[in-house]
Subunit: 281 residues, 2 copies
Protein backbone atom coordinates (compact mmCIF):
# COMPACT_ATOMS: atom_id res chain seq x y z
CA UNK A 1 0.00 0.00 0.00
CA UNK A 2 1.36 3.37 -0.93
CA UNK A 3 0.43 7.00 -0.41
CA UNK A 4 -0.76 8.68 -3.60
CA UNK A 5 -0.27 12.34 -4.36
CA UNK A 6 -2.96 13.13 -6.94
CA UNK A 7 -2.51 16.36 -8.88
CA UNK A 8 -5.84 17.12 -10.57
CA UNK A 9 -8.88 15.58 -8.89
CA UNK A 10 -11.16 15.35 -11.96
CA UNK A 11 -12.72 12.52 -13.97
CA UNK A 12 -9.56 10.47 -14.64
CA UNK A 13 -7.62 11.37 -11.49
CA UNK A 14 -10.62 10.80 -9.23
CA UNK A 15 -11.43 7.49 -10.92
CA UNK A 16 -7.83 6.34 -10.50
CA UNK A 17 -7.95 7.21 -6.78
CA UNK A 18 -11.18 5.21 -6.34
CA UNK A 19 -9.97 2.26 -8.43
CA UNK A 20 -6.61 2.12 -6.64
CA UNK A 21 -8.18 2.26 -3.19
CA UNK A 22 -10.66 -0.45 -4.15
CA UNK A 23 -7.74 -2.63 -5.33
CA UNK A 24 -5.91 -2.01 -2.04
CA UNK A 25 -3.08 -0.11 -3.74
CA UNK A 26 -3.34 3.21 -1.93
CA UNK A 27 -3.50 3.68 1.82
CA UNK A 28 -4.16 7.40 1.46
CA UNK A 29 -4.79 9.84 -1.38
CA UNK A 30 -3.73 13.48 -1.00
CA UNK A 31 -5.29 15.80 -3.55
CA UNK A 32 -3.82 18.92 -5.17
CA UNK A 33 -5.94 21.12 -7.44
CA UNK A 34 -6.03 24.78 -8.51
CA UNK A 35 -9.79 24.74 -8.01
CA UNK A 36 -10.84 24.70 -4.31
CA UNK A 37 -14.36 23.59 -5.33
CA UNK A 38 -12.93 20.48 -6.96
CA UNK A 39 -10.96 19.67 -3.80
CA UNK A 40 -14.04 20.09 -1.64
CA UNK A 41 -16.08 17.82 -3.91
CA UNK A 42 -13.26 15.26 -4.05
CA UNK A 43 -13.11 15.21 -0.23
CA UNK A 44 -16.84 14.84 0.21
CA UNK A 45 -17.04 12.13 -2.49
CA UNK A 46 -14.22 10.21 -0.79
CA UNK A 47 -11.89 10.42 -3.79
CA UNK A 48 -9.17 11.92 -1.58
CA UNK A 49 -8.52 11.81 2.16
CA UNK A 50 -6.86 15.23 2.40
CA UNK A 51 -6.06 18.31 0.33
CA UNK A 52 -2.64 19.95 0.57
CA UNK A 53 -0.48 22.43 -1.36
CA UNK A 54 1.78 20.88 -4.03
CA UNK A 55 5.10 20.64 -2.15
CA UNK A 56 3.58 19.24 1.05
CA UNK A 57 1.46 16.73 -0.84
CA UNK A 58 4.46 15.46 -2.80
CA UNK A 59 6.55 15.32 0.34
CA UNK A 60 4.34 12.80 2.09
CA UNK A 61 3.78 10.53 -0.93
CA UNK A 62 5.24 7.36 -2.48
CA UNK A 63 3.68 7.92 -5.90
CA UNK A 64 2.72 11.10 -7.77
CA UNK A 65 0.07 11.09 -10.53
CA UNK A 66 -0.65 14.17 -12.64
CA UNK A 67 -4.14 14.23 -14.15
CA UNK A 68 -4.51 17.78 -15.47
CA UNK A 69 -5.08 19.21 -18.98
CA UNK A 70 -2.03 18.58 -21.19
CA UNK A 71 -1.08 22.28 -21.42
CA UNK A 72 -0.82 22.42 -17.63
CA UNK A 73 1.08 19.11 -17.68
CA UNK A 74 3.92 20.56 -19.79
CA UNK A 75 4.66 23.26 -17.22
CA UNK A 76 3.87 21.31 -14.09
CA UNK A 77 5.82 18.07 -14.61
CA UNK A 78 9.26 19.75 -14.49
CA UNK A 79 8.23 21.50 -11.24
CA UNK A 80 7.01 18.23 -9.76
CA UNK A 81 10.26 16.47 -10.69
CA UNK A 82 12.17 19.31 -9.00
CA UNK A 83 10.24 18.62 -5.80
CA UNK A 84 10.26 14.81 -5.60
CA UNK A 85 12.69 12.73 -3.62
CA UNK A 86 12.71 9.21 -5.15
CA UNK A 87 8.98 8.80 -5.83
CA UNK A 88 7.59 7.34 -9.03
CA UNK A 89 5.96 10.13 -11.05
CA UNK A 90 3.46 9.54 -13.86
CA UNK A 91 0.88 11.49 -15.84
CA UNK A 92 -2.22 10.34 -17.68
CA UNK A 93 -2.49 12.84 -20.55
CA UNK A 94 -3.78 12.19 -24.06
CA UNK A 95 -0.66 13.53 -25.83
CA UNK A 96 2.96 12.60 -25.16
CA UNK A 97 5.50 14.21 -27.47
CA UNK A 98 5.36 17.75 -26.04
CA UNK A 99 5.14 16.50 -22.47
CA UNK A 100 8.16 14.24 -22.75
CA UNK A 101 10.16 16.91 -24.53
CA UNK A 102 9.59 19.23 -21.55
CA UNK A 103 11.52 16.90 -19.22
CA UNK A 104 13.95 15.21 -21.65
CA UNK A 105 16.96 16.77 -19.91
CA UNK A 106 15.61 16.70 -16.36
CA UNK A 107 18.01 14.99 -13.90
CA UNK A 108 15.08 13.01 -12.44
CA UNK A 109 13.70 11.94 -15.85
CA UNK A 110 14.19 8.26 -14.99
CA UNK A 111 11.72 8.48 -12.09
CA UNK A 112 9.07 9.53 -14.55
CA UNK A 113 6.98 7.07 -16.60
CA UNK A 114 4.45 8.42 -19.14
CA UNK A 115 1.11 6.62 -19.29
CA UNK A 116 -2.23 6.99 -21.04
CA UNK A 117 -5.09 5.00 -19.56
CA UNK A 118 -7.52 5.13 -22.53
CA UNK A 119 -10.76 5.18 -20.62
CA UNK A 120 -12.05 8.75 -20.58
CA UNK A 121 -15.65 9.59 -21.33
CA UNK A 122 -17.40 12.81 -22.32
CA UNK A 123 -17.79 13.68 -18.65
CA UNK A 124 -15.44 15.72 -16.49
CA UNK A 125 -14.97 16.82 -12.88
CA UNK A 126 -14.72 14.91 -9.57
CA UNK A 127 -18.43 14.06 -9.56
CA UNK A 128 -17.95 11.91 -12.69
CA UNK A 129 -15.28 9.69 -11.09
CA UNK A 130 -16.01 5.94 -11.18
CA UNK A 131 -14.09 3.12 -9.51
CA UNK A 132 -14.61 0.78 -12.48
CA UNK A 133 -13.78 3.27 -15.26
CA UNK A 134 -10.56 1.47 -16.25
CA UNK A 135 -11.67 -2.16 -16.00
CA UNK A 136 -10.83 -4.06 -19.19
CA UNK A 137 -9.53 -0.95 -20.98
CA UNK A 138 -6.08 -0.34 -22.47
CA UNK A 139 -3.30 1.68 -20.87
CA UNK A 140 -0.42 2.81 -23.07
CA UNK A 141 3.00 3.12 -21.44
CA UNK A 142 5.17 5.46 -23.48
CA UNK A 143 8.94 5.62 -24.07
CA UNK A 144 9.55 3.25 -21.17
CA UNK A 145 13.19 2.81 -22.22
CA UNK A 146 13.82 6.32 -20.89
CA UNK A 147 12.58 5.37 -17.42
CA UNK A 148 14.10 3.37 -14.57
CA UNK A 149 12.96 -0.27 -15.08
CA UNK A 150 12.00 -0.49 -11.40
CA UNK A 151 9.69 2.51 -11.76
CA UNK A 152 8.16 1.03 -14.91
CA UNK A 153 7.50 -2.21 -13.05
CA UNK A 154 5.89 -0.31 -10.17
CA UNK A 155 3.55 1.54 -12.55
CA UNK A 156 2.74 -1.64 -14.53
CA UNK A 157 1.65 -3.13 -11.23
CA UNK A 158 -0.71 -0.20 -10.52
CA UNK A 159 -2.46 -0.46 -13.90
CA UNK A 160 -2.56 -4.27 -13.83
CA UNK A 161 -4.16 -4.24 -10.38
CA UNK A 162 -6.97 -2.01 -11.67
CA UNK A 163 -7.47 -4.49 -14.52
CA UNK A 164 -6.04 -2.58 -17.47
CA UNK A 165 -4.33 -4.18 -20.50
CA UNK A 166 -0.85 -2.75 -21.08
CA UNK A 167 0.43 -1.62 -24.48
CA UNK A 168 3.87 -0.09 -25.15
CA UNK A 169 4.50 2.66 -27.71
CA UNK A 170 7.04 5.38 -28.41
CA UNK A 171 5.71 8.93 -27.96
CA UNK A 172 5.39 9.74 -31.66
CA UNK A 173 3.49 6.54 -32.44
CA UNK A 174 1.27 7.16 -29.45
CA UNK A 175 0.32 10.64 -30.64
CA UNK A 176 -0.32 9.44 -34.20
CA UNK A 177 -2.51 6.50 -33.08
CA UNK A 178 -4.34 8.68 -30.56
CA UNK A 179 -5.22 11.10 -33.37
CA UNK A 180 -6.83 8.21 -35.27
CA UNK A 181 -8.63 6.34 -32.52
CA UNK A 182 -9.62 9.19 -30.25
CA UNK A 183 -8.95 12.80 -31.30
CA UNK A 184 -10.70 12.64 -34.71
CA UNK A 185 -13.78 11.05 -33.10
CA UNK A 186 -14.09 14.12 -30.92
CA UNK A 187 -13.78 16.56 -33.82
CA UNK A 188 -16.33 14.53 -35.77
CA UNK A 189 -18.77 14.64 -32.84
CA UNK A 190 -18.27 18.37 -32.25
CA UNK A 191 -18.91 19.01 -35.95
CA UNK A 192 -21.97 16.76 -36.10
CA UNK A 193 -23.47 18.45 -33.04
CA UNK A 194 -22.88 21.91 -34.59
CA UNK A 195 -24.36 20.82 -37.92
CA UNK A 196 -27.53 19.55 -36.30
CA UNK A 197 -27.83 22.39 -33.77
CA UNK A 198 -27.49 24.95 -36.56
CA UNK A 199 -30.35 23.34 -38.45
CA UNK A 200 -32.71 22.43 -35.73
CA UNK A 201 -33.68 25.53 -33.85
CA UNK A 202 -36.58 23.69 -32.27
CA UNK A 203 -34.53 21.75 -29.74
CA UNK A 204 -37.44 19.68 -28.58
CA UNK A 205 -37.89 18.30 -32.07
CA UNK A 206 -34.31 16.97 -32.12
CA UNK A 207 -34.67 15.59 -28.65
CA UNK A 208 -37.75 13.67 -29.67
CA UNK A 209 -36.38 12.32 -32.93
CA UNK A 210 -32.78 11.73 -31.92
CA UNK A 211 -32.39 7.97 -31.93
CA UNK A 212 -29.77 5.84 -30.27
CA UNK A 213 -27.56 6.14 -33.35
CA UNK A 214 -27.46 9.91 -33.14
CA UNK A 215 -26.78 9.95 -29.39
CA UNK A 216 -23.92 7.58 -29.90
CA UNK A 217 -22.21 9.54 -32.68
CA UNK A 218 -22.53 12.91 -30.94
CA UNK A 219 -22.10 12.04 -27.28
CA UNK A 220 -18.43 13.10 -27.37
CA UNK A 221 -19.62 16.60 -28.31
CA UNK A 222 -20.36 17.04 -24.61
CA UNK A 223 -16.61 16.91 -23.90
CA UNK A 224 -14.87 19.77 -22.11
CA UNK A 225 -12.94 22.38 -24.14
CA UNK A 226 -10.53 22.82 -21.19
CA UNK A 227 -9.33 19.29 -21.77
CA UNK A 228 -9.61 19.14 -25.56
CA UNK A 229 -8.23 22.46 -26.81
CA UNK A 230 -4.77 21.72 -25.33
CA UNK A 231 -4.85 18.22 -26.90
CA UNK A 232 -5.63 19.67 -30.34
CA UNK A 233 -2.90 22.30 -29.83
CA UNK A 234 -0.24 19.76 -28.90
CA UNK A 235 -1.24 17.11 -31.44
CA UNK A 236 -2.19 19.63 -34.14
CA UNK A 237 -0.11 18.15 -36.98
CA UNK A 238 -1.40 14.58 -36.56
CA UNK A 239 -4.97 15.74 -36.05
CA UNK A 240 -4.77 17.86 -39.20
CA UNK A 241 -3.58 14.87 -41.26
CA UNK A 242 -6.37 12.64 -39.99
CA UNK A 243 -8.98 15.36 -40.41
CA UNK A 244 -7.85 15.88 -44.02
CA UNK A 245 -8.29 12.17 -44.70
CA UNK A 246 -11.68 12.14 -42.99
CA UNK A 247 -12.93 15.13 -44.99
CA UNK A 248 -11.67 13.49 -48.16
CA UNK A 249 -13.55 10.25 -47.37
CA UNK A 250 -16.73 12.24 -46.68
CA UNK A 251 -16.21 14.15 -49.93
CA UNK A 252 -15.99 10.84 -51.74
CA UNK A 253 -19.40 9.85 -50.32
CA UNK A 254 -20.66 13.27 -51.42
CA UNK A 255 -19.49 12.75 -55.02
CA UNK A 256 -21.07 9.31 -55.11
CA UNK A 257 -24.39 10.78 -53.94
CA UNK A 258 -24.17 13.54 -56.58
CA UNK A 259 -23.45 10.97 -59.30
CA UNK A 260 -25.97 8.51 -57.81
CA UNK A 261 -23.22 5.89 -57.93
CA UNK A 262 -24.76 3.63 -55.29
CA UNK A 263 -22.78 0.63 -56.50
CA UNK A 264 -19.49 2.16 -55.35
CA UNK A 265 -21.24 3.56 -52.27
CA UNK A 266 -22.24 -0.02 -51.38
CA UNK A 267 -18.65 -1.24 -51.78
CA UNK A 268 -17.47 1.46 -49.39
CA UNK A 269 -20.08 0.50 -46.80
CA UNK A 270 -19.04 -3.13 -47.10
CA UNK A 271 -15.44 -2.05 -46.56
CA UNK A 272 -16.45 0.07 -43.55
CA UNK A 273 -18.32 -2.99 -42.17
CA UNK A 274 -14.86 -4.58 -41.65
CA UNK A 275 -14.73 -2.54 -38.45
CA UNK A 276 -16.88 -5.40 -37.04
CA UNK A 277 -13.79 -7.56 -36.87
CA UNK A 278 -12.12 -4.98 -34.67
CA UNK A 279 -14.96 -3.69 -32.52
CA UNK A 280 -16.69 -6.81 -31.32
CA UNK A 281 -19.29 -5.11 -29.19
Amino acid sequence: MSRLCLIGVGHIGGSLALAGKKAGLFSKVTGVDVDPDNLEKALSLGLIEEALPLAEAINGSDLVVLAVPVNVMVNLIPQVLDLVDDQLVTEVGSTKTAILKSIAQHPKRKQFVASHPMAGTEFSGPESAQANLFTGKTCVLVDTADSDPEKVKQLENVYSEINMRLVYLDSESHDLHAAYVSHISHISSFALALTVLAKEKDENQIFQLASGGFSSTVRLAKSSPDMWIPIFEQNRDNVLDVLDEHISTLSRFRSLLIKRDFKTFRHLIEEANQIKKILKT
Copy 2:
Protein backbone atom coordinates in the same frame (compact mmCIF):
# COMPACT_ATOMS: atom_id res chain seq x y z
CA MET B 1 -55.58 -9.44 -29.48
CA SER B 2 -55.03 -9.47 -33.21
CA ARG B 3 -53.28 -11.62 -35.77
CA LEU B 4 -50.19 -9.94 -37.21
CA CYS B 5 -48.92 -10.52 -40.73
CA LEU B 6 -45.24 -9.53 -40.56
CA ILE B 7 -43.52 -8.94 -43.89
CA GLY B 8 -39.76 -8.95 -43.25
CA VAL B 9 -38.68 -10.86 -40.15
CA GLY B 10 -35.45 -8.94 -39.41
CA HIS B 11 -34.23 -6.67 -36.62
CA ILE B 12 -37.16 -4.22 -36.52
CA GLY B 13 -39.92 -6.60 -37.64
CA GLY B 14 -38.78 -9.35 -35.28
CA SER B 15 -38.49 -6.91 -32.38
CA LEU B 16 -42.00 -5.59 -33.07
CA ALA B 17 -43.38 -9.14 -33.05
CA LEU B 18 -41.70 -9.87 -29.71
CA ALA B 19 -42.69 -6.55 -28.15
CA GLY B 20 -46.30 -6.85 -29.31
CA LYS B 21 -46.67 -10.41 -28.06
CA LYS B 22 -45.15 -9.42 -24.72
CA ALA B 23 -47.69 -6.58 -24.48
CA GLY B 24 -50.54 -8.99 -25.29
CA LEU B 25 -51.34 -7.27 -28.61
CA PHE B 26 -50.83 -10.18 -30.98
CA SER B 27 -52.35 -13.62 -30.63
CA LYS B 28 -50.33 -14.99 -33.54
CA VAL B 29 -47.60 -13.68 -35.84
CA THR B 30 -47.36 -15.01 -39.39
CA GLY B 31 -44.05 -14.26 -41.09
CA VAL B 32 -43.37 -13.55 -44.77
CA ASP B 33 -39.79 -13.19 -46.03
CA VAL B 34 -37.93 -13.70 -49.31
CA ASP B 35 -35.16 -15.42 -47.38
CA PRO B 36 -36.13 -18.94 -46.16
CA ASP B 37 -33.19 -18.87 -43.69
CA ASN B 38 -34.65 -15.79 -42.02
CA LEU B 39 -38.03 -17.50 -41.70
CA GLU B 40 -36.46 -20.57 -40.17
CA LYS B 41 -34.51 -18.47 -37.66
CA ALA B 42 -37.61 -16.40 -36.86
CA LEU B 43 -39.60 -19.59 -36.20
CA SER B 44 -36.94 -21.13 -33.99
CA LEU B 45 -36.43 -17.86 -32.08
CA GLY B 46 -40.18 -17.60 -31.48
CA LEU B 47 -40.54 -14.30 -33.34
CA ILE B 48 -43.26 -15.82 -35.53
CA GLU B 49 -45.62 -18.74 -35.07
CA GLU B 50 -45.87 -19.69 -38.74
CA ALA B 51 -44.43 -18.81 -42.16
CA LEU B 52 -46.72 -18.46 -45.17
CA PRO B 53 -46.66 -17.01 -48.69
CA LEU B 54 -47.72 -13.35 -48.95
CA ALA B 55 -51.38 -13.71 -50.01
CA GLU B 56 -52.19 -16.44 -47.48
CA ALA B 57 -50.46 -14.59 -44.66
CA ILE B 58 -52.38 -11.39 -45.40
CA ASN B 59 -55.61 -13.30 -45.72
CA GLY B 60 -55.56 -14.61 -42.16
CA SER B 61 -54.47 -11.36 -40.51
CA ASP B 62 -55.99 -8.32 -38.78
CA LEU B 63 -52.90 -6.14 -39.14
CA VAL B 64 -50.10 -6.07 -41.73
CA VAL B 65 -46.66 -4.63 -40.96
CA LEU B 66 -43.97 -4.24 -43.62
CA ALA B 67 -40.42 -4.18 -42.27
CA VAL B 68 -38.23 -4.54 -45.36
CA PRO B 69 -35.58 -2.28 -46.96
CA VAL B 70 -37.19 0.92 -48.30
CA ASN B 71 -36.55 0.04 -51.96
CA VAL B 72 -38.54 -3.17 -51.51
CA MET B 73 -41.19 -1.21 -49.62
CA VAL B 74 -41.95 1.03 -52.61
CA ASN B 75 -42.84 -1.95 -54.81
CA LEU B 76 -44.40 -4.15 -52.19
CA ILE B 77 -46.85 -1.80 -50.46
CA PRO B 78 -49.08 -1.35 -53.54
CA GLN B 79 -49.20 -5.15 -53.93
CA VAL B 80 -50.08 -5.60 -50.28
CA LEU B 81 -52.86 -3.00 -50.53
CA ASP B 82 -54.20 -4.86 -53.56
CA LEU B 83 -54.43 -8.01 -51.43
CA VAL B 84 -55.89 -6.73 -48.16
CA ASP B 85 -59.53 -6.81 -47.19
CA ASP B 86 -60.05 -4.15 -44.46
CA GLN B 87 -56.86 -4.69 -42.44
CA LEU B 88 -54.71 -1.87 -41.12
CA VAL B 89 -51.45 -1.78 -43.08
CA THR B 90 -48.30 -0.01 -41.88
CA GLU B 91 -44.59 0.03 -42.68
CA VAL B 92 -41.62 0.99 -40.53
CA GLY B 93 -39.13 2.38 -43.07
CA SER B 94 -36.62 5.21 -42.52
CA THR B 95 -37.81 7.29 -45.52
CA LYS B 96 -41.35 8.32 -46.34
CA THR B 97 -41.73 10.58 -49.39
CA ALA B 98 -41.06 7.95 -52.08
CA ILE B 99 -43.05 5.29 -50.24
CA LEU B 100 -46.14 7.46 -49.81
CA LYS B 101 -45.95 8.66 -53.39
CA SER B 102 -46.13 5.02 -54.57
CA ILE B 103 -49.60 4.59 -53.06
CA ALA B 104 -50.97 8.14 -53.22
CA GLN B 105 -53.69 7.10 -55.71
CA HIS B 106 -54.34 3.63 -54.35
CA PRO B 107 -58.05 2.99 -53.59
CA LYS B 108 -57.08 1.48 -50.22
CA ARG B 109 -54.70 4.33 -49.25
CA LYS B 110 -56.83 5.17 -46.19
CA GLN B 111 -56.16 1.75 -44.65
CA PHE B 112 -52.48 2.54 -44.71
CA VAL B 113 -50.65 4.50 -41.98
CA ALA B 114 -46.94 5.27 -42.37
CA SER B 115 -44.81 4.93 -39.24
CA HIS B 116 -41.17 5.13 -38.28
CA PRO B 117 -40.28 3.63 -34.91
CA MET B 118 -36.86 5.27 -34.40
CA ALA B 119 -35.15 2.51 -32.51
CA GLY B 120 -32.89 0.66 -34.93
CA THR B 121 -29.34 -0.28 -34.05
CA GLU B 122 -26.33 -1.26 -36.14
CA PHE B 123 -27.50 -4.88 -36.02
CA SER B 124 -29.71 -6.70 -38.50
CA GLY B 125 -31.42 -10.04 -38.99
CA PRO B 126 -33.90 -12.04 -36.88
CA GLU B 127 -31.23 -13.02 -34.35
CA SER B 128 -30.86 -9.37 -33.32
CA ALA B 129 -34.55 -8.96 -32.42
CA GLN B 130 -35.24 -7.70 -28.88
CA ALA B 131 -38.57 -7.38 -27.10
CA ASN B 132 -37.54 -4.12 -25.39
CA LEU B 133 -35.98 -2.40 -28.44
CA PHE B 134 -38.72 0.24 -28.64
CA THR B 135 -39.21 1.03 -24.96
CA GLY B 136 -39.03 4.77 -24.33
CA LYS B 137 -38.10 5.57 -27.95
CA THR B 138 -39.94 7.81 -30.40
CA CYS B 139 -42.24 6.63 -33.18
CA VAL B 140 -43.10 9.10 -35.94
CA LEU B 141 -46.53 8.77 -37.58
CA VAL B 142 -46.46 10.37 -41.00
CA ASP B 143 -49.15 12.13 -43.07
CA THR B 144 -51.87 10.76 -40.81
CA ALA B 145 -54.44 13.10 -42.39
CA ASP B 146 -54.36 10.82 -45.45
CA SER B 147 -55.38 7.79 -43.40
CA ASP B 148 -58.66 6.64 -41.89
CA PRO B 149 -58.78 8.07 -38.32
CA GLU B 150 -59.86 4.67 -36.99
CA LYS B 151 -56.78 3.03 -38.52
CA VAL B 152 -54.55 5.77 -37.09
CA LYS B 153 -56.06 5.19 -33.65
CA GLN B 154 -55.49 1.43 -33.98
CA LEU B 155 -51.81 1.96 -34.85
CA GLU B 156 -51.33 4.57 -32.11
CA ASN B 157 -52.56 1.94 -29.70
CA VAL B 158 -49.99 -0.61 -30.93
CA TYR B 159 -47.04 1.78 -30.48
CA SER B 160 -48.33 3.13 -27.17
CA GLU B 161 -48.69 -0.38 -25.79
CA ILE B 162 -45.04 -1.12 -26.56
CA ASN B 163 -44.14 2.11 -24.73
CA MET B 164 -43.19 4.40 -27.60
CA ARG B 165 -43.66 8.18 -27.60
CA LEU B 166 -45.66 9.36 -30.62
CA VAL B 167 -44.66 12.29 -32.84
CA TYR B 168 -46.57 13.47 -35.94
CA LEU B 169 -44.86 14.83 -39.07
CA ASP B 170 -45.61 15.26 -42.74
CA SER B 171 -43.52 13.08 -45.05
CA GLU B 172 -41.19 15.82 -46.28
CA SER B 173 -40.40 17.05 -42.75
CA HIS B 174 -39.86 13.47 -41.67
CA ASP B 175 -37.30 12.83 -44.40
CA LEU B 176 -35.48 16.11 -43.71
CA HIS B 177 -35.29 15.52 -39.94
CA ALA B 178 -34.29 11.88 -40.45
CA ALA B 179 -31.36 13.06 -42.61
CA TYR B 180 -30.17 15.24 -39.71
CA VAL B 181 -30.71 12.96 -36.73
CA SER B 182 -30.01 9.60 -38.29
CA HIS B 183 -28.79 9.35 -41.88
CA ILE B 184 -25.80 11.73 -41.53
CA SER B 185 -24.65 9.89 -38.38
CA HIS B 186 -24.39 6.73 -40.46
CA ILE B 187 -22.37 8.40 -43.22
CA SER B 188 -20.10 9.95 -40.61
CA SER B 189 -19.52 6.55 -38.99
CA PHE B 190 -18.90 4.79 -42.31
CA ALA B 191 -16.36 7.48 -43.23
CA LEU B 192 -14.63 7.40 -39.85
CA ALA B 193 -14.31 3.62 -40.02
CA LEU B 194 -12.84 3.82 -43.53
CA THR B 195 -10.41 6.57 -42.51
CA VAL B 196 -9.09 4.57 -39.59
CA LEU B 197 -9.09 1.21 -41.40
CA ALA B 198 -7.12 2.74 -44.29
CA LYS B 199 -4.45 3.98 -41.89
CA GLU B 200 -4.22 1.17 -39.46
CA LYS B 201 -3.26 -1.99 -41.29
CA ASP B 202 -2.36 -3.61 -38.01
CA GLU B 203 -5.90 -4.32 -36.88
CA ASN B 204 -4.85 -5.56 -33.51
CA GLN B 205 -3.26 -2.21 -32.75
CA ILE B 206 -6.58 -0.41 -33.33
CA PHE B 207 -8.46 -2.95 -31.33
CA GLN B 208 -6.15 -2.43 -28.39
CA LEU B 209 -6.15 1.35 -28.52
CA ALA B 210 -9.74 1.96 -29.57
CA SER B 211 -11.35 3.54 -26.55
CA GLY B 212 -15.00 3.85 -25.67
CA GLY B 213 -15.17 7.14 -27.54
CA PHE B 214 -14.04 5.57 -30.80
CA SER B 215 -16.39 2.58 -30.49
CA SER B 216 -19.26 4.92 -29.90
CA THR B 217 -18.61 7.15 -32.93
CA VAL B 218 -18.00 4.27 -35.34
CA ARG B 219 -20.44 1.62 -34.14
CA LEU B 220 -22.98 2.57 -36.82
CA ALA B 221 -20.33 1.63 -39.42
CA LYS B 222 -21.37 -1.97 -38.78
CA SER B 223 -24.78 -1.22 -40.33
CA SER B 224 -26.03 -3.23 -43.29
CA PRO B 225 -25.69 -1.81 -46.83
CA ASP B 226 -28.90 -3.67 -47.83
CA MET B 227 -30.80 -1.40 -45.51
CA TRP B 228 -28.80 1.81 -45.94
CA ILE B 229 -28.15 2.08 -49.69
CA PRO B 230 -31.90 2.31 -50.44
CA ILE B 231 -32.30 4.95 -47.71
CA PHE B 232 -29.50 7.07 -49.21
CA GLU B 233 -31.03 6.58 -52.68
CA GLN B 234 -34.50 7.68 -51.60
CA ASN B 235 -33.38 10.50 -49.33
CA ARG B 236 -30.44 11.53 -51.52
CA ASP B 237 -31.26 15.26 -51.77
CA ASN B 238 -31.68 15.81 -48.02
CA VAL B 239 -28.66 13.67 -47.20
CA LEU B 240 -26.54 15.64 -49.69
CA ASP B 241 -27.56 18.95 -48.08
CA VAL B 242 -26.71 17.75 -44.58
CA LEU B 243 -23.46 16.17 -45.75
CA ASP B 244 -22.45 19.46 -47.39
CA GLU B 245 -23.06 21.29 -44.13
CA HIS B 246 -21.18 18.66 -42.14
CA ILE B 247 -18.14 18.79 -44.48
CA SER B 248 -18.22 22.56 -44.26
CA THR B 249 -18.22 22.46 -40.43
CA LEU B 250 -15.31 20.01 -40.46
CA SER B 251 -13.48 22.25 -42.95
CA ARG B 252 -13.95 25.13 -40.56
CA PHE B 253 -12.23 23.10 -37.82
CA ARG B 254 -9.50 22.32 -40.34
CA SER B 255 -8.88 26.00 -41.11
CA LEU B 256 -8.76 26.83 -37.41
CA LEU B 257 -6.14 24.12 -36.87
CA ILE B 258 -4.09 25.39 -39.81
CA LYS B 259 -4.24 28.96 -38.47
CA ARG B 260 -3.79 27.75 -34.88
CA ASP B 261 -6.86 29.80 -33.98
CA PHE B 262 -7.68 27.88 -30.83
CA LYS B 263 -9.73 30.72 -29.42
CA THR B 264 -12.40 30.33 -32.10
CA PHE B 265 -12.00 26.54 -31.89
CA ARG B 266 -12.88 26.79 -28.18
CA HIS B 267 -15.98 28.86 -28.95
CA LEU B 268 -17.15 26.20 -31.39
CA ILE B 269 -16.64 23.43 -28.83
CA GLU B 270 -18.61 25.45 -26.28
CA GLU B 271 -21.38 25.82 -28.84
CA ALA B 272 -21.29 22.08 -29.61
CA ASN B 273 -21.53 21.42 -25.86
CA GLN B 274 -25.11 22.80 -26.06
CA ILE B 275 -26.05 19.32 -27.28
CA LYS B 276 -25.98 18.45 -23.54
CA LYS B 277 -29.33 20.21 -23.15
CA ILE B 278 -30.81 17.93 -25.77
CA LEU B 279 -29.13 14.60 -25.11
CA LYS B 280 -29.42 14.16 -21.37
CA THR B 281 -27.78 10.76 -21.21
